[in-house]
Each structure stands twice: as C-alpha cells, then as structure tokens.
C-alpha cells in the first residue's frame, strides 16, 4: 500500500488526460478513416472508408495551398520572432536603469488574448484610417494605401505581423534566461585574449546557447503551426483562402462543411509533421547530452 502512495499524486491527472485527451485523439484517428457527416453523427453510423479521407485531402488543391501558406506563415514568423527576440535578449542581458520594468511590460503582448491582439492589428491594418498605412504614407515608403487584409496577394502579411508581435516576448524571455546562464568569466577571458564582441558572440554565446536556441526554434515552429484564433479573427482564412492555413482548413472541413472525416485527416497529417520535427529535436538534444 505504501509503495503505491507516490502514484496517487499523478493518477488523477493521468486519468483525466486519458479520458479527455488520449481517447478523443484516438477517436480523431478513427474518424480520419471513416465517413463522418451530420447524418452519421445523428445515427451513429460512420462507415469505414480506408484511406479515402486522406486521398481526398491530399488531392484537394485547397489543402495543398493551405500547406504552402502554413509553411510561409511559420517560416516567416519564427525567423523574425527569433531574430528580434534574440536582439532584445542581448540588449536586456545586463542590468541598466529601468531594465527590470521594461522586461516586465514587454511580456504583455504575449499574455493578451489573441482575440484582442487580432482586433487591434485588424484596426491598425485598415485601408482607411489604419495606422500602418498612415505611417508608411507619411514616410513616403508607399504612395497608395495598401489593402492589407483585403488583397489576396498580401493578406497573409497581416497575421504574420501580428503573430511576430505576439511571439517576440516569448523568444526574448527564453533566450534571455539562456544568456544569463553563461558564466561572465568566459567573456572576461575572451576579452583578455583580445576577442571583440562579434567574435565573442559567435565563439561563446551561440555555442553555449545551442540547446536553448534549438528549444526556442522547435517550440516556435510548433506553436506557430497551430495558430488558429489569430487568423480566424483577422481574416477568417480569406480573402479567397489566401490565409487558410492547415488548422483553418481543418476547422472549415469539420465545422463549416461538416465533413469531419476530412477535417480529422488534415489534423492527423499536421500532427505527424510536428511529431517528426519534435523527434529530430529530441534526437539532437540527446546527442548534445552525449557530447557534453
């Protein structure tokens, strides 16, 4: 009895996750190989259709374009969030007057509900009276106001800008923690040897932070690929599907067209890709551990 007590701390949570997470995940996998529509849901008859849903999704030009849009969205967001977050982390690494309060308030964009962030960017990106167009026009960077969210060729830029803004604090906080764990004596020794800041950055900072950099990038890729709220609020996937990423596509399949089987198949495909990325990450981490 006593030997079982330690497990009593984790069993309730594991049971909960089993019922509300693992079981639904399993049924999702099941739906992806069944025909699930409104009638099927009412009658409970969902015939097995093999890989038909996957064939349907992979053959759907809409899905293919949602994959490309998701890749552009994720690659752009993660790159900029990471670079800006890293620069800010370097700025805030050492204390200076007001650095504490500034670091604190910089977390606010990350904590705001996505609906609020989406609404404010939607307003700032308006064709008429939008702040972005006003600033760009005043600076003579553009000559015509841009229809940020209504022009299919450029609409993805809106959610990208908003999502970079949301992600910067997260990148900054994690990278800052990594920077502060590097012993200052390394830098002192390097400057005695005459290494300049540029060399110190590439020879000390980057190698010492390898695992944090990897973690931030992988987490960034996963979190960004899953973004739904922001895009749904800013553009709803439009205009003409120009901002439909895989999560938006899956939502529309399941909850707009009530083709739950195809929606399930699309999410399973996304999840497989994310698992592969995470496995590469874990493999790299293990190799790091062996090396050090």
């Amino acid at each position: 009895m006593r030997a079982l007590t330690p497990y009593s701390f984790i069993i309730p949570a594991l049971l909960f996750l089993g019922i509300f997470l693992i079981y639904p995940m399993f049924t999702n996998l099941l739906y992806s190989v069944e025909r699930v529509d409104v009638g099927g849901l009412l009658t409970g008859v969902t015939p097995f259709v093999g890989l038909q849903n996957y064939q349907h999704v992979l053959g759907d030009p809409q899905f293919r374009s949602s994959v490309i849009i998701l890749l552009i969205f994720t690659a752009t967001c993660v790159t900029f969030q990471f670079i800006i977050g890293f620069l800010l982390a370097l700025l805030f690494k050492d204390r200076f007057p007001l650095s504490g309060p500034m670091r604190g308030v910089l977390m606010v964009p990350w904590l705001l509900p996505m609906v609020v962030s989406g609404t404010i960017f939607k307003w700032m990106l308006q064709l008429q009276n939008g702040l972005f167009n006003y600033v760009l026009l005043s600076a003579h960077l553009i000559h015509q106001p841009i229809a940020w969210l209504d022009d299919p060729h450029i609409a993805l830029a809106g959610p990208i800008i908003a999502n970079i803004w949301i992600g910067i604090p997260f990148n900054m906080a994690l990278l800052l923690a990594g920077l502060q764990s590097i012993s200052p004596s390394l830098y002192e020794a390097a400057s005695v040897d005459g290494a300049n800041l540029w060399h110190q950055f590439w020879r000390i900072t980057v190698p010492m932070m390898r695992s944090q950099i990897l973690a931030v990038l992988v987490l960034g890729i996963i979190l960004t690929s899953n973004v739904f709220d922001l895009i749904y609020i800013m553009t709803g996937g439009g205009p003409v599907n120009a901002t439909t990423t895989v999560p938006i596509y899956a939502y529309q399949s399941s909850f707009v067209f009530y083709d739950l089987g195809s929606g399930a198949a699309a999410t399973v495909l996304l999840f497989i890709v994310l698992v592969i990325i995470a496995s590469i990450y874990i493999a790299l981490l293990n190799r790091e551990e062996v090396r050090s």
Binding site: T5, P6, Y7, S8, F9, I10, A13, L14, F16, L17, F20, L21, Y23, P24, M25, T27, N28, V36, L41, L88, D94, F96, P97, S99, R103, G104, V105, L106, V108, P109, L111, P113, M114, V115, V116, S117, T119, I120, W123, N129, A173, L174, L176, A177, A215, I222, N226, F228, D229, P247, A250, Y251, S254, F255, L260, T267, V268, F271, L274, V275
Partner: protein, 277 residues
C-alpha cells in the same frame, strides 16, 4: 568610467525606444476607445484622443446587455480551468519532481508531446464526445477541453519549482510519521507558493483567452465568453472601431490586473520553468 555610463545611458534609451514601439498597439487600443466618431474619421490620426470621450464605454459596454453575461461566462471558464488544472496538476508536478515513480522520463516526454497537439485536432473529436454526453452549450465542456491544454503546460512549468526545494524536507516529515500527502500539503506546498501563484495566474489567463473550444462547443450566444463576443462585434459593428476597442479594453483588463499583481512571479517563473526543461 565615462564610457561605462554612456553605454548604460544608450542602453536605457534604446530599451525605452523598443519598449515604446512594441507596446504602442496596446496603447492604441485604449486611445482609439476614447475617440469620438468624428475624430476617428480624420485622415491624420491623433496620437492622443483630442476630446477623450467615455461615451463609447457607456454605449458599447455598460449599456450593452450582452457584455455582462459574456464577462460572467469568461470568468467561469477562467476560474474553472484554473481550479481544475491546479487540483490535478499541482500534485502531478510534485509527484514527478520528488516521488519515487517509475517511468518518470516517459511521462514527461508524454506531457511534452501533449503540448504539441494542435487544438484543432482535439476540437473535432471533443465536439462529438460532448455532443454524445449532451454537454454542448455547457461551460463545463469548455473547461474540461481547455484543461487538456493547460494541465500539461502547468505541470511542466511547475515541476522545476518542486525540484529546487531541498531534498531533506520529506525525510524530516517522514521521521515525524507523516503521510506523503500530509507532508506535501503542510510542508512542500507553502514553500512552492510562488510557483503555484505563477501557474495559477497564467492558466486563468489561458482560460480567459480561450477561443476555439468555445467556438465549437458553445452555439448558444448567452453561453459564450467575451472572446467570442468581441469576435461577433467585429462582424456586427463593422467599422465602429471605438466601440470595438472599448470591448477589447474590457477583455484585456484581467491581463493587466494579473500582470500588475503577479508580474514578479510570472517573468521569473516562466524563465525558470523553461530553462529547467
């Protein structure tokens, strides 16, 4: 010594500049909410509201009969998610940090993978699941669904706080003959207070901000939270940006409150949790 002070001053100036730019959108929500219709239509936007007009708050927030129930629903989802996640997650984080449990590493990996699930992947099966249980339009369904996301997150952020406590704590309690649960509640929990507050605050905000599960599990407008209310206003109010921003300010208030009261814990706690994983 002089160069030192100049670089410090430059850093402060640069820091202020960056902070101002990055926080400007947050200010702009508030500034817009106080502008009258005429001022909003100006071609040159005014940096500060020329004639701060609280009328938008009266029209779109206080006299808007929907706002009260949106707020009440959001509050229930936020508090419900927080309580459920803590009741399940705090003991789990403690168990995984300090109790002799087999397969710890495997469970931790499992929790990490749980966090990778796209929420949309759960939305479809949970919709069917709760339909079968006749729990559509029931806030409990949203709370249960949201907890599947916040529980793994909470455990992973909280565990390092328990790991950081000295090893001898349980031994001392065991000598006194205390049951591990009693030692956990009386000795460990008070010492991990700052970690629990951090996680509680963050999970409340996640529940308050929840959108997708409310969208798919609640179709009755009177059951929906403020996040969906704000989304509805975008479609309904069209270009009444001042009214929309007044509602957005209301939705952002808990973030600012939590931030003011728990900022110290949140910034240190987040970094702590992340580094130690």
């Amino acid at each position: 010594m002089k160069t030192y002070t100049t670089t410090t001053a430059m850093r402060t100036a640069l820091g202020l500049f960056v902070t101002t730019i990055l926080l400007f959108p947050v200010y702009w929500i508030f500034a817009t909410s106080l502008k009258g219709d005429a001022e909003l239509a100006r071609t040159i936007p005014s940096l500060f509201p020329l004639h701060p007009d609280w009328q938008t708050y009266v029209t779109y927030v206080f006299k808007n009969p929907d706002i009260a129930h949106y707020l009440w629903n959001s509050l229930q989802i936020g508090v419900g998610t927080m309580v459920l996640s803590l009741v399940l997650g705090v003991p789990m984080a403690y168990g995984l940090a300090r109790q002799p449990i087999k397969g710890k590493r495997l469970i931790l990996m499992f929790l990490l993978v749980m966090q990778m699930f796209p929420s949309i992947m759960l939305a479809t099966p949970l919709f069917v699941f709760f339909s079968n249980l006749h729990m559509i339009n029931n806030l409990a369904a949203v709370i249960l669904a949201t907890t599947t996301r916040t529980l793994p997150f909470g455990v992973l952020v909280l565990r390092p706080f328990f790991l950081a406590l000295p090893n001898s704590l349980e031994d001392a309690a065991a000598v006194d003959g205390a049951n591990p649960w009693i030692a956990f509640v009386r000795v460990i929990l008070p010492l991990a207070r700052s970690g629990v507050i951090t996680v509680a605050a963050l999970i409340f905000l996640l529940g308050w901000s929840e959108f997708l599960f409310s969208l798919t599990l609640l179709s009755d407008e009177s059951k929906r939270p403020l996040t969906l209310g704000l989304y509805k206003f975008i479609t309904n109010y069209g270009t009444n940006w001042n009214g929309l921003m007044a509602v957005a300010v209301v939705a952002a208030v808990p973030v600012l409150l939590v931030f003011i009261f728990a900022q110290r814990y949140i910034t240190s706690g987040l970094a702590f949790g992340a580094v130690n994983e």
